[in-house]
């Protein structure tokens, strides 16, 4: 493999596939390297696909992409130990094509996406781990792989190697991840007949439901849980900051088991056959943790660059968008006959900054710190809200005014007036 390519893309997840597809479509000579047996076999996600980001790359993806259910209903649950307070948004507008969001199964979806990349003309080689970058001074000129004689060269290397991004660390492009900047999520997939899922979740004809959860299920740690409906399976998972897992000393799978045993969750998954258990890190450091995005001969995209909006549970769409923007940067520079220097590739950073990706991360830039320093949002408040609901909904001859007083007292007792005000201000600011 002594051939030289226009671009080498490391990794075949949403970011890498979007970059490789966009480049190959524009006629560039692209090599994409994937360490899994097939593209997708190393990849883990909840998983929800956001149509918009993919539509901008493959407008007619709905014709043949393996999609599970389009999302009709979104539930948000705040859980106490044996109850939850929730809200639901369901609209028939979400039940009309073109659908905005779908559940997907990543191994199938990534394989499909990779097929599109290959059709577009990129050379995709699986079962190949990239072990290092080839440098010429400060400039990235290619990659080393674990195949014999496995060095390959290109004008640009696009790092789409996921959250761990060992390559960027080895090259000194960014330091080791900090435990408070990543969430560890564990997940199981449980198979049930399609009709059972339809009736349990009050849907039909491939419509699906998302349940996002927060509260006591995370044992006081910063994190959330989720339950997604696929066509014939449910994925259920929970993720918390790694720094919190360390501090609280609880095994991730024990937390998942506790969540599955919650009286409001157990009946939803009952009778299912568990067919896979997965774990994955989610880069949740946000705006302040985004590393340098480019240099001489390289750009970094997707999870490898911390592009996750943890507040809105978005990541794959940020990955696809940044992969596409990196590719478009390269296509433009090639058209202008400009070399792939850091100075010219800075255009990628500009594109990311003016897109929703960086704007959204910037909007929530203080959120990681606020949540980290205020565990009451995951403990005291879920408990207070649930008790308030219980008090109000229990009919026992006590006058309503007395019930309200009792609820108010419970809030003040738990958080104090200044604490309540402070918490409101903190949350309001973090959402600004």
């Amino acid at each position: 493999m002594n051939e030289k390519f226009d671009a080498i893309v490391v990794g075949a997840g949403p970011a890498g596939n979007s970059a490789a597809y966009t480049l190959a479509k524009a006629g560039m000579k692209v090599l994409q390297l994937e360490r899994g047996e097939t593209p997708g076999s190393k990849n883990v996600q909840g998983a929800i696909l956001y149509s918009d980001a993919l539509e901008r790359i493959i407008p007619d993806f709905r014709d043949d992409a393996p999609l599970e259910r389009h999302l009709l209903e979104q539930r948000m649950w705040i859980l106490d130990d044996e109850s939850y307070v929730g809200n639901t948004y369901r609209s028939d507008a979400f039940n009309k094509p073109p659908y905005n969001r779908y559940t997907i199964i990543r191994t199938q979806f990534d394989k499909w996406f990779s097929g599109k990349v290959q059709e577009a003309g990129a050379m995709v080689i699986s079962e190949t781990t990239v072990t290092d970058l080839h440098m010429d001074g400060n400039r990235v000129v290619g990659v080393k792989t674990d195949r014999t004689g496995g060095s390959v060269y290109a004008d640009v290397v696009i790092l789409a190697d996921g959250v761990n991004s060992l390559l960027a660390k080895k090259a000194g492009f960014h330091p080791e991840l900090r435990p408070k900047d990543v969430a560890l999520a564990v997940k199981e997939i449980h198979f049930l007949p399609e009709e059972t899922i339809d009736s349990r979740f009050n849907v039909s004809a491939n419509a699906g439901v998302v349940i996002e959860m927060a509260g006591k299920i995370t044992n006081g740690m910063v994190g959330t849980g989720f339950l997604y409906t696929n066509r014939e399976s449910l994925t259920i998972g929970i993720g918390c900051l790694l720094s919190d897992f360390r501090k609280h000393g609880i095994a991730p799978y024990a937390l998942l088991d506790k969540m599955k045993d919650h009286p409001a969750i157990r009946p939803l998954i009952e009778g299912g056959t568990m067919k896979e258990y997965t774990a994955h890190l989610i880069p949740e450091g946000g705006y302040h943790a985004v590393p340098p995005l480019y240099g001489d001969g390289w750009m970094i995209v997707g999870d490898a660059a911390m592009f996750v909006n943890s507040v809105h549970r978005e990541g794959s769409n940020l990955a696809m968008t940044t992969g596409r923007l990196a590719a478009e940067t390269m296509i433009e520079l090639t058209a202008d006959d400009k070399p792939m220097t850091a100075k010219n590739l800075a255009r990628y950073h500009e594109k990311v900054k003016t897109s929703f990706v960086m704007k959204d991360l910037k909007k929530y830039k203080d959120m990681p710190k606020v949540l980290e320093n205020n565990p009451q949002f995951f403990t005291a408040y879920p408990e207070l809200l649930n008790r308030a609901a219980h008090e109000l909904l229990t009919v026992d001859g006590v006058e309503k005014k007395a019930k309200e007083r009792s609820i108010r007292r419970s809030f003040v007792k738990s958080r104090s007036w200044t604490g309540l005000m402070g918490d409101a201000v903190k949350l309001w600011r973090a959402f600004q």
């Binding site: 047996e37 076999s41 996600q45 191994t107 792989t145 990543v182 560890l184 897992f245 799978y253 994955h280």
Partner: protein, 95 residues
Amino acid sequence: MMRVEERLFQNRYRVDPGRAHIQITDPSVCTVDCHSKPCTFCCPAGCYTKEGDGRVTLITDGCMECGTCRIICTEFRNIQWEYPRGGYGILFKFG
């Protein structure tokens, strides 16, 4: 609670015999210096075990390649972590 081994039994792996992709750099650091041993309870595959004599043993066969152990070992940086050779390690069926 379901044991972690039962869970991992559902997963598909291609183990690379004799080539563990993760290694403890200096086992005596785990035994003597590291008191909290976070790898033994944070690893979602339970690859690290705290032995009765304080040693930490590592069996990587069930590893899901998430990176937790490497990142959590902040105090001693005592873990050498690489990806398995191409095609080896966890092979997710669904992801």
